[in-house]
Amino acid sequence: MPQDLVTSPLPRPTDPPVTPELVADHGLSPEEYERVLHVMGRELTFTELGVFSAMWSEHCGYKNSRRLLRLLPTEAPWVIQGPGENAGVIDIGDGYALAFKIESHNHPSAVEPYQGAATGVGGILRDIFTMGARPIAVLDSLRFGDLDSPRVRYLFSGVVAGVGDYGNCVGIPNIGGEVAFDRGYEGNPLVNALCIGLMKTEDLITASASGVGNTLMAVGARTGRDGIHGATFASEELSQDSDEASRPQVQVGDPFTEKLLLEASLELIASGAITGIQDMGAAGITSSASEMAGRAGNGVELDVALVPVREPGMTPYEILLSESQERMLVVAEKGQEDEVRRILEKWELEAAVIGRVTDDGRFRVLEGGVVVADIPALPLTQGCPTYEREGVESEEVKALRSADLSAHATPSGDLTELFLRVLGSPNVANKRWIYHQYDTTVRTGTAVRPGGDAGVVRIRGTRRGVAATTDCNGRFTYLDPRRGTLAAMAEAARNLACAGALPTAITNCLNFGNPLKPHIYYQFREAVRAMADACQAFETPVTGGNVSFYNETDGKAVYPTPVIGMVGVVEDVDHITRAAFRNPGDAVVLLGRNSAELGGSEYLYVTAGLVAGEPPEVDLMAERRLQQAVLAMIQAGALHSAHDCSDGGLAVTLAESALGSADPGDASLGVEVTLDDDLPPVAVLFGEAQGRVVVSCAPERLDEVLRLAADHDVPARSIGAVGAPGGALRIRVRGAAVELPGERVRDTWLQGLSGIMDAPHAAGA
């Protein structure tokens, strides 16, 4: 570009000089800053440094992940919008499309759990409705340390209240998710929220600043001094000092404004008055404006003096980098500004013209007409350097994985007592303490509520439904990132198949430590490669997601936790299947094969405090056949229940199916099975071998079920029968048995988590 066209802004009088120290404080390496200077062809102002710092942060720039993420398959005939937009979109038939995405809010939640979690939900909702889709469900995937710590209980209760209050107020049902407690998350809780939204296929709108001369408008809440540099904050490790020092970087949520913004945005999109819309999320106006310009290949010019602010005296730097919540950037058709204002006014919200779309490819910022930043948009949004780092597996993990577990194959006590300990562990026990705080039924679409394998929402006016689940066993991924990721994918797909849905696509939330450490980068690399393989095998492309690095406190990283958010389509609501047994006398059938594997199991953690051993093997093709077999059985109308076998193992799976919802009015049933495998009883009962599903059917359909399994080359055998209401649980293994009255099983399962959280003084400090 000829030099004379580039305006060189002058520093503002109060700006600090841009020194190497200031550059370092902004998270840019000397090499990266060199690159910035090359892009700019001149020195930067303080404001421009702030802009680059945010856009080239890990959070916005994906600098340590982008290269590997290219391995992930992103295309399929049903994918309408892949990665790169606010959310992915797939075609689900009957003229409907589904927008969905998962995102993390780990760092804010570690510092201020209630607001951190609440704003996490707010952000993901906005990503969905800015695509033109109405949010129809949320799921939350949570990780905490062990609950014996008061601090962990405080974080856990704060996060659950935050997730709940925000979604409840906006009126989006929570249909599922997962939670795990393990010392591996002690200092760094993980808070991931997934939202799915529904739209007519033709209502899709994207976040691009198209149409030179069109008007940029800021809508929704005013811009304040909260959350400044949140994106950069999310790209650093936490330390013990983070609590106090980082609170100003945590935003505060206002779900009431969000609800108004949701309705106003959908009305705006329907009105045709706008051509693009984007949430002002991480890095606020800076990222939304520059990314929208970048996508359209255009430029934008905006004046910060026109942005409605909460307090006077805010500098351009602050306005550009504020992460105040519930704000949107809208591109209005030239001449339609009043229509935009009228719609926003109806919802009692503000809309202000702050700039326009230009044809010069620049991200230009003025303050009262004076240029304060002038940056080429494409290098700003796409030019962030990307790295492939050195990845080496940690010796410590290698040792843990090769630990000799043979001693644990012999039960350390009475099998029935051990079973109760596993069943009552907060990781396995009933999660009603959480989901009773979430509105699960608003919008009258929830056909399967939280607590089962996957949540299901029916699509009104059609026979269809949509199922969604989030999964990842962090112990497996810690011990072997590849196997663990394959297991997460396999479990997610099994969960959907058990609900009666065909796995269709995924969104991922990749929670890891500091990628500059070779053993962390190794985890990340292996996880992404494994995910790519599993996505191919299951034909479930990735349509978007989120990378969250630097989940470390005082140098200690969380377990690598690549959470899989998977969605599937239920062809006919009659196929919706639940985990709970339905009828006494039904045959209980085990699909898949038991194994001697105990590595990474809940049993080892509960009985020996161990996270060790080889996590269970995953055979992707066998998983695929299993999913297809379960779906075939469901579609034939042969099954009364289907439940995936995962945390806690087969004994827990059987107990959960017998217990059902455990809600008043829903009878729990007994179950009696015999497992005659030539394997250690501990492994049969508590091993977490992959590729297993427990189904039940009327006795007269048993032959058909076994035949369908054989047709799909899936091992299957009848192992027993469903018992009477309130009946006993009896699981016979070689030479031993787990035998308990139904009431005891139920109490243990119901009390495991709520007993801890409802105990006096449980709230934590």
Partner: protein
């Protein structure tokens, strides 16, 4: 049957009420809270949600909405008004029903299915139920703990104005069946004239067994039937 479903800023069950009315053959219309006139409707419904974010006291600001003047006049003239959840809270704040809904005893949001016993079969909203019927209906609220002064409670009970009570699945009033600490397990009450019903549970979410229960249908069929009888 024309039913107005009032939408306040922050209402989020307006759509569910609208669909419930349609399901039983009624004609539903969304009425924005700023609209002052309310003419030609046979019944008015105040939906659940978080009007004005419940940032002050649940329902306290919504009752000042322009439309509420007409809602109050409609109720005073004997028109049927149903308030569910936040709608119940607004009816109490507006003085159309006595008492108040305070923070749940658990101090947490409570969302789950509860069982209700139909205490009065002879109301506009319950005629299609058997007296004593036990219904399974979802709740989802943070402030559903019904409280009033002793005189009011005595009068409500004495006049038989408690329409729904939280019970266990067998129909027995127990402390465990009470999800929020409401006095006397009260889940829903009617006005002295019987034309205004406020209830915390969501009958509009219990309209089809696919979603867990169809036990709420009776509230809407009762209303439609009462109105058509009245019209004859």
């Amino acid at each position: 049957m024309k039913m107005a479903v009032i939408t306040f800023p922050g209402s989020n069950c307006d759509y569910d009420l609208y669909k419930a009315v349609q399901q039983v053959g009624g004609e539903a219309t969304f009425v924005w809270h700023r609209q002052r006139r309310l003419h030609g409707y046979d019944a008015v419904m105040l939906p659940g949600g978080f009007s004005y974010g419940d940032y002050l006291r649940a329902g306290a600001i919504a009752r000042l909405s322009p439309v509420m003047e007409s809602v109050v006049a409609f109720a005073r003239s004997g028109g049927p008004v149903l308030g569910v959840c936040n709608g119940f809270q607004i009816l109490c704040e507006a003085g159309l029903l006595p008492g108040a809904l305070v923070r749940n005893a658990s101090l947490r949001f409570e969302s789950r299915d509860v069982h209700l016993r139909v205490e009065r079969q002879d109301t506009l909203f319950t005629s299609e139920y058997d007296a004593g019927a036990v219904l399974r209906v979802p709740i989802a609220h943070g402030d559903g703990n019904y409280q009033a002064d002793d005189d009011t409670l005595e009068r409500l009970e004495g006049e038989g104005r408690v329409v729904f009570r939280y019970v266990d699945p067998t129909g027995t009033v127990t402390p465990d069946a009470n999800p929020n600490g409401s006095w006397g397990n009260i889940a829903g009450i009617v006005s002295a004239d019987g034309n205004v019903l406020g209830m915390m549970p969501h009958p509009e979410r219990a309209m089809e067994s696919l979603l867990g229960s169809a036990d709420g249908v009776g509230v809407f069929t009762s209303l439609v039937k009462s109105l058509s009888t009245a019209a004859v």
